[in-house]
Subunit: 594 residues, 2 copies
């Protein structure tokens, strides 16, 4: 159950695929230079490999305990969190003038992947703080930023996101938590929030809850919602935790996975809070957190897939069963020598790297959208980021579940035994397609907003890039690369056809095919980026940069992906174009059992 952060693969994805080094030219990240990347990644890897990974399985087994409103996290989490704070990791991607390291989100995602791979339950704490810090930077007042940012960016305090209520899940607008004005300008928050990740714990001195609530004048629905900042301990004049606020963890969920992450029911009983951003603009603040979280949940998918893959690979090399048809000697051979097992592992690896490439590409474009000196370039990057966010979230988390499930399968009977650890990944992974907007919600966002709002412009830009890469493969001096284009071009055609169909479809038809459309978009985007990697690898071979074997592995991986995933892309069109009628007209499909 060991984990070793795949630093080389992460660098390859950041530098060769997502072209992170381009950020040095923008001037937006004065603290960043290319030669910093390996040092940062190696340090993060130490934390992940040596501190967090060893706590993962034990944390799953022990879980969290709630007693008298206080949550105790699993053994070792508190110390590990102290080391996380000590390293300054919470501030990695935040401006140096606010106490951060001022590094790009691309590197932030790389760190995030290692946190989630090594210990997803632990990694959720920092992940939620990341989002809250972004919201605070963007919509907080000067005073709020001065008071809260240093503590949050250092990691001394953590933060949470409070949206969901029992009757308000995907429909956030149905929330009932209310905020009433106090004479001193603060607000009294009253209501119950559920599924609050790291809502209460013993790792930090204070917890800053970002809470959606409705003010007395707030209209029904999302338009009347405001965002509030509600600290567990009210800061005193010096900014230190003082009076205990009237917010309490009253329940802990008994969950399928991520047992080490305390998922709390929070009770606000006239808790003191402060408006964060404008009244009635709560959704805007929430979307800042949400967009940060969506990308990072996609990265969780990558992280859990990587971990499951590493574990399955180690097992498959160790475990011997039977005679493998194309291995030497009489056997027994390691099961990795059996073609069916090898196929599973190759697909796990290919999909994991495709998901990583999509997430890192989105992150670097987010960095460029903020930092590029050219306005048109910023706009281009913003369009790409926005388009990719729902794909990065949904596709990568579906991959996380699929790869974790394959990981169990590679283990055979031992995969079903909890002690092996493969089962934990299968359990942990299952939340990722659900939270921060279910994958169905992501698909609706993709077809309803991201595709339709600009008449397919951003999507067509993506397809242009795919075709360019196909051309790069076709014209490559390496005879293996034109083969990739044979799969990439029809896949791009399918995505274009599906997009055109979506753009002319009515709402119900578009929504009926949304999830399958997102799958196609992810399949194509992932394949495209692996081919970008293959082109880069060929360049490395030609220029004699790095190890040949490593470069060749990236070309081989793109080929496996092309033959197993891109090959199926055109076949998804029927499913995408099903339309609502076959699902709704014959209402009898879903007759009650009788």
């Amino acid at each position: 159950m060991t984990y070793r952060a795949p630093v080389r693969d992460i660098r390859f994805a950041l530098e060769e695929i997502a072209a992170m080094d381009g950020l040095t030219a923008t001037g937006g990240f004065p603290e960043f230079s290319s030669d910093l990347t390996p040092a940062i990644l190696d340090e993060a890897a130490k934390l992940a490999n040596d501190v967090l990974a060893p706590l993962n399985w034990a944390g799953d087994q022990s879980g969290c305990v709630l007693e008298g409103g206080a949550v105790t996290t699993p053994p070792g989490f508190k110390d590990a969190y102290a080391q996380f704070v000590e390293g300054g990791w919470q501030g990695l991607q935040f401006p140096a003038d606010a106490g951060g390291m001022g590094l790009p989100k691309g590197l932030g995602c790389a760190l995030m992947e290692m946190l989630q791979s090594s210990n997803m339950a632990f990694g959720l704490g920092p992940m939620l703080s990341f989002g809250a810090i972004e919201a605070l930077i963007e919509v907080g007042t000067q005073d709020q930023r001065a008071l809260y940012l240093p503590k949050l960016i250092s990691g001394e305090w953590t933060a949470t996101m409070n949206l969901t209520e029992p009757q308000a899940g995907s429909d956030v607008g149905a929330l009932r938590t209310k905020a009433e004005p106090n004479p001193d300008g603060s607000w009294a928050i009253t209501g119950q929030k559920i599924y609050i990740t790291w809502g209460e714990h013993d790792c930090a001195d204070n917890i800053v809850h970002l809470v959606l609530a409705r003010t007395p004048d707030g209209a029904p629905g999302t338009k009347g919602i405001s965002l509030f900042l509600v600290p567990k301990f009210l800061p005193d004049a010096a900014g230190e935790p003082d009076e205990r606020n009237r917010v309490t963890a009253i329940g802990l969920e008994h969950k399928l996975g991520i047992h080490g992450s305390p998922t709390c029911t929070m009770e606000y009983d006239k808790a003191t809070g402060w408006l964060l951003g404008e009244e009635f603009k709560g959704m805007a603040g929430m979307f800042i957190m949400m967009n940060s979280a969506r990308l990072n949940v996609g990265v969780q998918g990558v992280g859990i897939a990587e971990r499951a893959y590493q574990q399955a690979l180690a097992f498959a090399k160790e475990r011997k069963q039977g005679r493998a048809v194309n291995a030497e000697g009489p056997g027994p051979h390691a099961i990795i020598d059996h073609p069916d097992v090898r196929r599973m592992l190759a697909m796990m690896k290919a999909k994991t790297e495709a998901a990583r490439a999509i997430c890192f590409h989105a992150a670097v474009e987010a960095d460029l959208a903020l930092s590029h000196e050219d306005e048109e370039e910023r706009a281009w990057s913003k369009r790409r980021e926005d388009l990719l966010i729902p794909i990065a979230k949904a596709w990568s988390t579906d991959v996380g579940v699929e790869v974790a499930s394959l990981g169990v399968q590679v283990h055979g009977g031992m995969g079903f035994v909890e002690e092996t650890g493969a089962a934990q990944h299968y359990r942990d992974a299952r939340i990722t397609p659900i939270y921060e907007g279910t994958n169905g919600i992501q698909a609706i966002d993709l077809v309803g907003r991201k595709l339709a709002r600009d008449g397919g412009h951003a999507l067509r830009e993506l397809i242009e890039d795919v075709r360019q890469t196909a051309e790069d493969c076709e014209t490559s001096s390496n005879p293996e690369l034109p083969f990739l284009a044979e799969w990439l071009n029809p896949a791009a055609d399918a995505l274009e056809a599906a997009s055109n169909w979506m753009l002319q479809a009515d709402d119900a038809d578009r929504l009926a095919g949304a999830t399958s459309y997102l799958k196609l978009a992810g399949d194509v985007a992932g394949g495209w980026l692996l081919c970008v990697g293959a082109v880069a690898a060929q360049r490395m071979l030609k220029d004699q940069v790095g190890e040949d074997a490593y470069a060749r592995s990236k070309i081989a991986l793109a080929r496996v992906y092309a033959e197993t995933v891109l090959s199926s892309a055109p076949g998804l069109l029927g499913d995408i174009k099903i339309g609502a009628e076959p699902l709704f007209a014959p209402g009898e499909i879903m007759l009650e059992s009788a």
Copy 2:
């Protein structure tokens, strides 16, 4: 978390799709008549709905306890088992002269589905006994049958299947358990077996272990293996449990799911056993059990999918969120009115019914293979049964996992909370692609034996049937049916092309594509059988038999399946034909993380 056995759907699959009533003409089942079917199914449904289903979640939570070699099953299991025995259900499909009901395996599978849906952990006990009884009938001596069959068929005693050892999983031939002759003709069995389902429990008076072991003259590998019958209590002269045998449960696995099913490590310490079948022919006896178990594990896939579907459907009708685009009024609407959720439910239903149809078709052909008066017909049915077994096992269990995962997804955040119960199905389902031969082993069986041994004959017979059904759809008076043929024909073409490729491929290439080939075969077979159902439904509409709405639902379901699953069939060819070279030649794909 209630469950209602889908008696109407089960009858439709048995009678309209698998044509079980044809068995009455064979004379092989004198106890069976068509009008018996509803009575049997209704009685079985009562046991499942009222006795077993309510114990399912509590059994998962409490699990089994091993103390001093004795296992205590979850509260209620012992009483429930007594009711199972009382109803004579263990004997349903066994000959009347051996104390059974003498009914077809088709009905046996229907019962099995209800047991597995209502309580998979419980259902595993009877399932293992089923297989052992079949082996005993086929290879037991007269005395062995006289001594053990009545107790096993009544259910007073249960039975187990002991194959796996730590070093011998998929590679059964690597086992080390030894059998040494005793002077009285019995054997002394010594060794350790793992993953023994219901290896020890408190529900029955005796447990009959069927154990694979090697005799002193046994060659290495599978050829030297023999099968032994090792009862927990040695029967006395009157056949009643007497002296305790030297077989002990020394461990219980801590598993991802089926917590209510005791999965034991069994220690045999010179335990007394008797040869079952001939020496060195242990694999033959094992395959009898295994084939029974493989079909029944496929039925488990159906059962868990049905349960997960029912639970998700009930939730989706109850849970209200947001405004659905094509529903009336301002909302909030039930989430089933949202196209994306409805698509998930429709796919769950369609795949569940397709898997059921495949399993029941295999079961009825197994009945015909034994009972048809015409030898050629028997041979045809045997070929079809053999061809379908690996598909029924692997495809249905993959569907079970997929549908259970969709069931969690439909529940949103509540799906990840254990109390909801959806997560249990996701955990329970995960073992089914692993045990009784992993799905990879099934795929190897399909391409290596079932397809290749007769040069594709049985597979071509299946494709002929698919084409015939497509023609039936094309020529139907119902204008909705020709549409189905538009999807069915290209899918059949794809299966034919893939089969032809497989038949000329070398071993390694065939094995590299085996799993994807099995998926295609299952996708096509499932779609074909739903179309058979649609043709039957059209006949019912025309003849005014039964409820119109019900018949129409079967046509609608076939359409959803055709558009979402059959539509992708041709796209699987690339994946199937990948060959071993891209997986093996660039050995660097699976470089260690660095």
